[in-house]
Symmetry: C2
């Protein structure tokens, strides 16, 4: 049986900071190409290996090759059954499992695609996964995907949606020596922030999974000059919503809650949104896990 | 008797947008030099003319030469007894009065210094008055100063102090998907802004003048990234305080009021302060007005 701790240590010892994953992609590609039951593709620093057994279902086992920058922890160090080192948990331990499965399961019960991709730890737009979706979406087709990110050994099913909203509050400029002649837009933020903080928390349970929604201010900006009552204040919010709501429903929910703090001249717009993914635990493949 | 409306119109017709007051300074200087009872100094675009009568008291009559940029109102236009034009009220009307006094009062009851200065409408650091204080403070010595800024014909005595404070609130970063693992510093602003808005208003009456204090947020900033619970938020406040308080007393007052919304790790510092000036209406020269 494979020593997964040793294999993880071997992967940790190959540096693979984001945008510099070439050496690790080489190692993974070389090992996968040695398995005659796998069809291997390499695109940039992304490597995809697939079984082609004509099974009715296909499972994707997915992991990213990169790590954050080193901090004196470049080399793996094993103490008893604990391994230390850059990227050991996130996610070279997961890569070791995926690699071992690929190498030791020539005839899995379902078809399997092993996806090793680059640049997860930086901006979403740079992700190797996005590169694959663009260049070879067929390589990412499947029924269920397992990502080996660290979760403390717990299966995390589905994911929440995320939405970024920009709220602009208006006021009226005046001199700070005579503020009663104007209206302070930054002061208006106070009540809005109170409402943001007090959004009743939803924790829907879907297929046995409890989701915990959240609404957080992630940016605030306002001010004209040191002696001017500001007529504009901007608040950026990030909302995480459970998969029992569409993005439109989540947005409507926020508009209902925050609406009383907005006036006709104010605005609230969605600037970025990613839909939630349901847990789908009744899917035969997931149900089997 | 001088036609002050016509003289104001003449001054309006000489363009003098901030930093471009040369032509108007020339005009004023030339007229003042024609008065043999005045000692005239010119420094840059500032002109100061003084009587030297060895009177026990000295009055300063002060006004700025510059205007804000034009907006189709460059030329003076008189309709009946109303004059329209760029800078007519602020403050070429006042300049006309000062110029006329200088030209028609060779033997005033007190010595008088007529101060015409540049660059009032932009930053305080650029003011011609600051230039005079630096180069020839003796030209600004006196017992009472009258500034001809528009006040609707009302004498405004003394002035409030102004103080700028920077408040920094701290929190703890976390991922917005798990905000309960951190603490949002922007959310903490909500209660602080409520307190700022609800500072009990003081309207002390000094020597018959009512002062109306004010506290206004003039700047706000915070945010790390779209998916990060921010651990820092900054609020800049401007406080206007009456002359019955020193700057230190005004600051202590704010610290008492806002203190309950700050924690040990937070900070609140005065970044800029100008003391208040008492009305001094019992001064013999002011009392005579």
């Amino acid at each position: 049986m494979t020593d997964l701790l040793a294999l993880t240590a071997e992967l940790v010892d190959v540096p693979s900071v984001s945008r510099d994953e070439g050496a690790l992609a080489d190692l993974v590609e070389q090992r996968l190409r040695a398995c005659r039951w796998l069809v291997v593709d390499r695109l940039g620093d992304n490597v995809v290996a697939r079984t082609e057994l004509d099974r009715p279902l296909r499972l994707l086992v997915v992991g990213h090759l990169d790590t954050v920058p080193a901090d004196g922890n470049e080399r793996a160090r094993i103490e008893a059954d604990v391994l230390w080192g850059l990227g050991a948990a996130d996610m070279k331990g997961g890569l070791a499992v995926a690699l071992d499965l690929a190498e030791t399961c020539p005839e899995p019960a379902v078809d399997v695609s092993y996806v090793f991709y680059a640049r997860e730890e930086i901006a979403a737009a740079e992700s190797g996964l996005a590169e694959l979706f663009e260049l070879r979406p067929d390589l990412l087709e499947g029924d269920v995907a397992l990502l080996g990110e660290p979760t403390g050994g717990v299966l995390e099913a589905g994911c929440q949606g995320t939405m970024r909203l920009r709220v602009v509050l208006h006021g009226e400029r005046s001199h700070t020596a005579r503020p009663w002649m104007g209206r302070n837009a930054i002061h208006r933020l106070g009540r809005l922030l109170g409402a943001v903080e007090q959004l009743p928390e939803r924790r829907p349970v879907l297929a046995g999974c409890e989701y915990r929604e959240a609404l957080q201010a992630v940016g605030v900006e306002g001010g004209v000059a040191a002696n001017v009552v500001p007529d504009r204040a901007e608040l950026v919010l990030n909302h995480r919503f459970a998969p029992d709501r569409t993005a439109a429903e989540a947005e409507a929910h926020l508009r209902t809650w925050l609406g009383p703090f907005l006036e006709p001249a104010d605005s609230m717009e969605v600037v970025d949104v990613a839909a939630a993914a349901p847990p789908s635990l009744d899917h035969p493949l997931l149900a089997a896990l």
